[in-house]
Each structure stands twice: as C-alpha cells, then as structure tokens.
C-alpha cells in the first residue's frame, strides 16, 4: 500500500465517521463471536481429551488399518453369498419398514392436516406424536423393539416403521395442506359427499407427491437398515460391526463397498421410478 493510498483512506475516515462506525461495530461483533466460538472449541478439545499424542497415534493406527483394508476381499465364495444374503435382508427390512409406515401414516396424515382434520385437539395430538416419534433416533427404537420381539430383522422393521411414521406423518399432512381445494369445491358442488371430495378432489393431487416422498424415504432407509444391525436388529450391520471389532479389515472393506454399491443402485432405481411417476416436474 502506498502512502498516498493510506492518506486518502484516512481522509475518508475523517470525513465520513458515521459510515466507518458501522463497519467497526460489525468487525467488533464478528471478532467477539469468533473469540467465543474459539473458546468453546478450546474448552471442548481440553474436556474431551483430544490430546495431540492420541490424535497422532490414532492417525498412524488408522493409516496401517487403511493399508490392511486393501484389496477388498470377501474371503471365500461361501462368505460372499452370506454377505449378499445379509444385504438382501437389509433391503427387505427397508422395504417393509417403509411400506408399513406409509400405509399407517396415510390416514393419520389427514388427521394432522389443517384442512382435513376432525378438530384442533386431534390435530395437536397427532402432530406432537409425530414429533416424538421423529425425535427418538432409529437405533434407540431398534433397542426398544429388541426388548419386545427379540433380536433379529423383525425388530429392525418395527424400528424403521416407528421413525418413518413420524417423518411420513409430517410430510403427508404438509402435502395435504398444500393441496388445491378448488377440485374439492367442484366435487361438493355436484353433490358429492365429503369422502368423495377427498377421493376425487384431493387424492389425485396427492398420490404422486406421496409416492415420491415414499421413494425418497426408501433410499434413506436402505442406509439406516444397514446400520441397525450394529445393535442387533438384523441386516448387514451386525456382520460389519463384528468384522471391525475382530479386525477382518479386507472383508470389512468388501462389505462397505457392497453397501455403498447397493445404496447407489437403489438411488438410481428410485430416481427413475420417481421420474416416471411425477414426470419431469422436479420434486
């Protein structure tokens, strides 16, 4: 910066102090915020035992583990078949959990929507129930259902069902509220009952939206279903966590690749289905 440049800046500062005041105040606030964030971060690093030696030692260990993961190898054909079956079980859990939740959420969504609910109290309770269902993580639901129906994929299906019910209930009721009510008025004006108004006025607008939401949920449930096995609720997660604990690293990387590949296949398939259902209209 040349001297003339600085001189001009100082002149400006002297002439328009009111404009520079706002800039300085903004900088002051930003500085305080960054300082606060840094202090909390430093406290966290200290409190959570993130020492330099632990991080460096762990990274070294991680590096050697990464080398032992290559190449991914299922071990034997028999094992590869076992993994494929576990993956199929994962998909089955995802499919059933999603479908059951969608079927159950369909009527409940109408109760939670402003324009189709019975009364305010019902709407309130329906919405709060959905919030609670969503607030509990899927792994917690899995643990609870394991207490009820025992270890195995059935508990996983029920866990997915619970957390999806909360998600679908909210999404469905929002879609119902967003529906145009002119077709409903049309049906009612020709003498149709209120049930007929829902069937012919709202449903045709709703179904494509709901289907595409269900397909999205199926995609994300494939991921969830592949981890709930970690707590014993079926699927490929059990195999994965055992392999990590017993350091069968090549087989572990094979299973991880299998999961990633399957998930992206499901993503592709769902994207195509969604496209054929709702057309080029992006949702």
């Amino acid at each position: 910066m040349s001297a003339a440049h600085t001189k001009a800046q100082e002149d400006l500062r002297a002439r328009y102090p009111q404009h520079f005041k706002a800039v300085y105040r903004g900088r002051g606030i930003a500085f305080l915020l960054v300082l606060l964030a840094g202090l909390v971060f430093a406290f966290g690093v200290h409190r959570l035992d993130m020492s330099y030696e632990r991080i460096v030692g762990g990274l070294g260990e991680l590096g050697s583990m990464a080398l032992r993961m290559i190449p991914p190898d299922p071990g034997s054909w028999h094992r590869a078949g076992m993994y494929a079956y576990a993956m199929l079980e994962t998909l089955a859990i995802a499919l059933l959990g999603t479908l059951m939740a969608a079927i159950a959420a369909f009527p409940l969504g109408f109760l939670a929507a402003r324009n189709t609910t019975i009364n305010g109290l019902v709407k309130f309770f329906a919405r709060r129930s959905f919030d609670t269902l969503r607030g509990v993580d899927i792994l917690i639901w899995a643990l609870i259902w394991i207490n009820v129906v025992g270890l195995g994929p059935f508990a996983g299906v029920l866990a997915l069902f619970m957390s999806d019910l909360g998600i679908f209930g909210k999404l469905f009721s929002e879609a119902i509220e967003a529906a145009d009510d002119k077709p409903v008025e049309g049906v009612l004006s020709t003498g149709g009952s209120s049930l007929a108004a829902v069937r012919f006025g709202i449903l045709p607008q709703l179904l494509p939206v709901l289907l595409s939401q269900v397909l999205y949920a199926f995609e994300s449930n494939t991921r969830s279903a592949s981890i709930i096995g970690i707590v014993g609720a079926g699927g490929i997660g059990l195999i994965l966590s055992e392999q990590i604990r017993t350091l069968q690293l090549q087989e572990m990387s094979f299973v991880i690749l299998l999961i990633l590949g399957t998930v992206s296949l499901i993503d592709l398939g769902c994207a195509r289905l969604r496209f054929s259902i709702i057309g080029p209209r992006a949702l």
Binding site: G44, L48, L62, F154
Partner: protein
C-alpha cells in the same frame, strides 16, 4: 376420428393402459413384500404375542420402582441428573467440536469442488468424490472404525461426526458457491487480485450467511447423531442409554429419553431462530 364415440374409445384405452400399469406395479410390489417378509422373519403371531409387551414396556418406563407414576416424584425419577446432565453436556460439546471441524474442512474443500472457482476438472472431480464418500458412509460406521484406531472415548465420535459433516456440508457449500454472482469475482480479478482475494472479497460476502445457516442445521443433526454414538463406545450419553435399556432400568430409560428429546427440541428451537435471522438479513441486504 373426432366423432364422440371414437374419442370416448381413445379415453377408455388410455385409462385402461394406465390401470394396467398400476396393477402391474402393485403385483410387483406385492410379490416383493411377500419375499421380503420371508427374509425379514416377519411373523404375525410373534408380533401379536408380543405387542402386549410393547405397550407394557411404555407402561413400565412411565413408572418408578415403587409403582408410582414417574411424574409423581421427579427427584426420584431424575435421581442421576448431575451425571446425566454432564453426559448431555459432553454430547453437545462433541456435536459442537465435530460440526466446527467438519464445517472448517468443508469451507476449504467447497471452493475446490465448485466449477466456477476451480478450473482444473481433475481437482473438482477428485474433491467431489472425497466428499461423496465422506457423506455416504454412515457416521456410526466411521465411529466403529475410529474406536478401534483411537480407542474408546469421545475422540473417535468427534472425528466420525467431523468427517460426515465435511461430506454433507462440502456438497451444500459447493452448490451455494456455484450459484454466486460472478461479477464481483471478475471485478477482483480485474484489479489484479489473487485466487484467495477472489474467495475472500468476492465470494465469501455473498455466501457467508448461507454457510452459517447450513452449519447450524448440521449442528442440530449432529446433536442427534452424537447422542447415539455412545452405542459403539464413542462417547456421549449413548453409552449410558444403551446400558439402562439393556439392563431394564425402566424409569431411567424414560428419564434419559426425556432429557435427550428435550435437549434436541431446545437446540432446534434456538438454531431455527438464529437461522431465520441470518436468512432474513440476507434478504434485507
């Protein structure tokens, strides 16, 4: 061709074709459901036998050991509140540190992953793949691996959260950066600014509030995530929750669930207000 009968025939055909598609879809779905039911060991009888124990489970977690409703004696219900609050604090701190680390990494990587800031297509491609892997592997899987490498405790949990956050935020950040107005960038370039000047003076002012809003949203998600990382030994309140569920300490289960859900809702409410303010400012400015 335009006679009413041929038109109604065409309509009937179109409807029939659509119906055929729907029936075919339902058939495929039905077959796969039956197949999936076999594999997932669904049994209606097991479900019906045990559905009573599901409702009784909720009855039990709503009662203290002496048979009273939990509400009747909050002090007894939350008997371990000092320990639990400390654990919840640790969980929040894990989420905070993980989010901050991940967001910082995402802040660096997002410029390398956006086509308008990085012209080397290989760098863009490689960065995007790295981000993709970081966000498609679930964080609990990273946590499992890190627990082996870094030993038990919050550290592996934080790193797992940080990696997942990097992947998720890096993608969102890059999308924001690709949509910025390029005129300020050209302006900085025209005055002889370097790449870093472009980022600092042309792009960051446009994207900062969006970035902060996405990072806060991610913090909310990470609080939920951090609460269950303890299931695999990666710190936070999850470890204790796993124990009380497995050991059937019913009242403790409900106390911990109330604590977790309450904290998550509180965090959601606070960050939502901040995010609205951030985005509101952007609209006003």
């Amino acid at each position: 061709m335009n006679s009413p009968s041929s038109r109604s025939q065409a309509y009937a055909q179109a409807v029939a074709a659509k119906r055929r598609h729907i029936w075919l879809g339902l058939l495929v779905l039905g077959v796969s459901v039956l197949f999936a039911g076999q594999i997932a060991e669904i049994s209606a009888s097991k479900f019906l036998d045990n559905i009573g124990s599901f409702t009784s489970y909720f009855y039990r977690i709503a009662h203290l050991e002496n048979g009273q409703w939990v509400i009747s004696d909050p002090a007894e219900w939350f008997w371990g509140w000092k320990k639990w609050l400390a654990l919840m604090g640790e969980t929040l701190l894990m989420a905070y540190v993980g989010t901050l680390l991940g967001a910082s990494a995402a802040l660096v990587l997002c410029f390398l992953a956006s086509k308008n800031m990085t012209h080397n297509t290989w760098v863009v491609f490689a960065t995007r793949r790295v981000l993709e892997i970081s966000r498609t592997v679930p964080e609990i899987v990273f946590a499992l691996i890190f627990v082996v490498a870094f030993s038990l405790g919050p550290l592996p949990g934080i790193l797992a959260l940080a990696i997942h956050t990097t992947g998720a935020l890096g993608k969102l950040f890059a999308e924001v950066v690709e949509n910025v107005d390029m005129k300020p960038v050209d302006g900085v370039l025209a005055t002889g600014g370097t790449w870093l000047h472009k980022v600092r003076f042309a792009v960051l002012p446009q994207v900062a509030s969006n970035f902060a809003s996405y990072a806060l949203l991610r913090f909310e998600i990470n609080v939920r995530g951090a609460a269950v990382l303890g299931f695999v030994g990666a710190g936070g309140i999850g470890q204790t929750l796993l124990e009380v569920i497995r050991k059937f300490y019913y009242a403790d289960v409900s106390a911990l669930l109330v604590l977790i859900i309450g904290t998550v809702m509180l965090i959601d409410a606070v960050t939502e207000r901040i995010r609205h303010r951030l985005l509101g400012e952007e609209r006003a400015g």
